[in-house]
Symmetry: C2
């Protein structure tokens, strides 16, 4: 819905007065900073539609009032002024639940990460166990950092599986079958905070355009390659959820006719040929049993590992070609535990993409590894909380 449709929220008091207008513009800038993270004045102008002169004036007023702080930076090679909301006594929590791990990040309104921890979880743990472990870890982190429970604006939760947004529930297809059916009520009861939750790949995409280096990108695809494969979409500058919210399920694109049966019920899905679980299976005779070993062996030049990565990369690139042919994103970011391999893995994905995409689309799609690595989903979950705070103001 276009924002023009919103009734003038400040107009009741004294519509059209200079003071009301200035307050409205301050609120607009604060909301933009809350939703998008620290931004240059030029980005603020682009996102709010206000002139750079107006932005500059209002940022000065907000800075004098201690609402924002500024620091010099460079953007596209030019000098710029980075604006961020000042840390007040409020934080957002992001929790990323994985198959074998749990990560929690705590961030301020100014997108400063003040605490971050990662712990291992037993494979096949029940959802309730995961939630309880998270709750205990969060309590400890808040205590360690002297953050009051009342300062927590909310908790964002990332789950590696499709979420039906109408029902507010994890649905079939989750990499964590133990999580199917989990809903908002259970999360809020278990975590004892207001919760917003989303698919982990969607949160990765959000992280890339808020915490990551892609804040100026309008159309971005984040592909998480892990025990499952899923994508998150930023379209026209915003997370895209489609009809039900079950988007980015590229892990279930058919790659091999009559291939291996997938847990989704189909055959030959991308996940059955290119997930890290499949790579571990393929490499089991070489004594590889952990994803970290795939990374270290590939970096050491082990030919079997490189071959497995190459085959997986080509298949992922082929699926990404369909994605690029359809929605023509400016940037595709590859995330997950293999991101640190850089070109060792990316070059295979790129070959698959270029081989299968319409040439003009393939050539214009920038393919990069995530610079946030395994932090992406938890950071995206925290950003989701901050974004929801901003939306409430509208």
């Amino acid at each position: 819905m276009p924002a023009s449709s919103r009734p003038h929220r400040h107009s009741a008091r004294n519509p059209g007065s200079q003071t009301a207008l200035r307050e409205l513009n301050q609120q607009r800038i604060a909301d933009t900073l809350l939703a998008s993270g620290p931004s240059t004045q030029a980005e603020l102008a682009r996102q709010t539609g206000l002139s750079t002169a107006t932005i500059s004036n209002i940022v000065r007023i907000m800075s004098d009032a201690g609402i924002v702080e500024t620091e010099p930076t460079t953007s596209s090679g030019r000098r710029a002024l980075l604006v961020r909301l000042c840390n007040r006594s409020a934080v957002a929590v992001g929790i990323d639940f994985g198959r074998r791990h749990l990560r929690i990040a705590i961030a301020t309104l100014g997108y400063d990460v003040v605490a971050e921890e990662n712990i291992e979880l037993p494979v096949g743990h029940r959802a309730e166990e995961g939630i309880e472990t998270a709750s205990n870890l969060l309590t400890k982190m808040l205590a360690d950092n002297a953050i009051a429970h009342s300062s927590v604006l909310g908790v964002g939760v990332g789950i590696p599986g499709p979420i039906d947004r109408r029902a507010g529930r994890v649905v079939q297809g989750a990499i964590l079958p133990e999580w199917v059916g989990i809903d908002l009520v259970e999360l809020e009861d278990g975590l004892r905070f207001p919760v917003v939750f989303d698919n982990d790949a969607n949160l990765g995409a959000l992280a890339e355009v808020t915490w990551g280096p892609h804040s100026e990108i309008d159309n971005l695809v984040f592909v998480k390659v892990g025990s499952g494969i899923g994508a998150g979409l930023i379209l026209n500058g915003r997370p895209f959820y489609g009809g039900l919210g079950i988007t980015g399920e590229i892990g279930h694109d058919t790659i091999t006719d009559n291939g291996v049966v997938c847990h989704c019920g189909n055959r030959g899905c991308l996940e059955t040929v290119a997930s890290t679980s499949v790579m571990l299976d393929l490499l089991s005779r070489s004594g590889v049993s952990r994803v970290g070993q795939i990374v270290s062996r590939a970096q050491a030049g082990d030919s079997a590992t490189l071959r497995v990565l190459d085959d997986a990369g080509l298949a992922i690139g082929r699926a990404l070609a369909s994605v690029a042919n359809l929605i023509n994103p400016e940037v595709v970011v590859v995330g997950g535990p293999l991101a640190e391999l850089g070109d060792l893995f990316l070059s295979s994905i790129e070959r698959g993409l270029m081989r299968h995409a319409v040439p003009s689309v393939g050539e214009s799609t920038r393919l990069v590894m995530s610079s946030l690595g395994e932090r992406a989903e938890a950071l995206g979950a925290a950003a989701l909380v901050l974004q929801h705070q901003a939306v409430r103001h509208f």
Copy 2:
């Protein structure tokens, strides 16, 4: 860009006054009707964000002033009031250029089609010939209907090929190779009217949510199956163009590894197994040489024709499964010359979709034939002109 970012365009005069507000709301309703076509009061409320009481008041004022007219209708089984802009002395023209045909539609601001003609073109005609034929036909149609040249708001042009929107030019991959490199200047010179142009599948999608029965759908995919195969996307209620504008290229999804070489430069693309050209090749020994014969033979129960349609439909459904897995649209509309086959073709596409989509996505995607048939693209082209008029007001 959210509309909130636009400076208050009426505020210069007398910001905040009741009169200014009413004028702003009238303009908002007129723009919505221009962009979306005739709408119920409930749809107008949803799209403008105004209350139904306000809509009802302002529609009455606009109706008394002769700006809109209303008629009773039903929507989702309830009584409703349909509002449309009155015909004033302004029309929009839509031109659909195909490989073998040319269709022109002339429509009023109220989305009434006042003239529509379709003529055959020789296969392999040069773009300049097509444009000249269109210009002559348009001149004749305007004369026949006593419409002054000065009443033409603009001409919307649909071209069956990808358009690089940054460069404003048809790029490689067009089904009409003769059109590659054609740009806006050539179209405006040849047609002697202001031109807006777009890919034919994008225009089909636009037609389905303006002229067609899907005006309440937020996320819709229109797939044109013809000598080429392409899709147009409506996402969050608006045409979606991605980075360059080269979206919906599902005709170049890889379906067969090492398949036939496609004109795009890849192999085994959907177009090489499921376009009407391929169907005609496959059926050439049975004496089928025109798409109309595919339709008539299938309707007569010819087994070879039904087999060819089934194979093509399964492949199209498979590609649509990737689309649905990625963007989870509420509705997928199949258009093009085979639309009149209805279930004879749709059931195969549906089987392919259900076989390859994530189950919860496949089950929730509504797959239908276009009710606009071969008119969709020309009507969408006219809608594009009306929509651009509305955008200019913002």
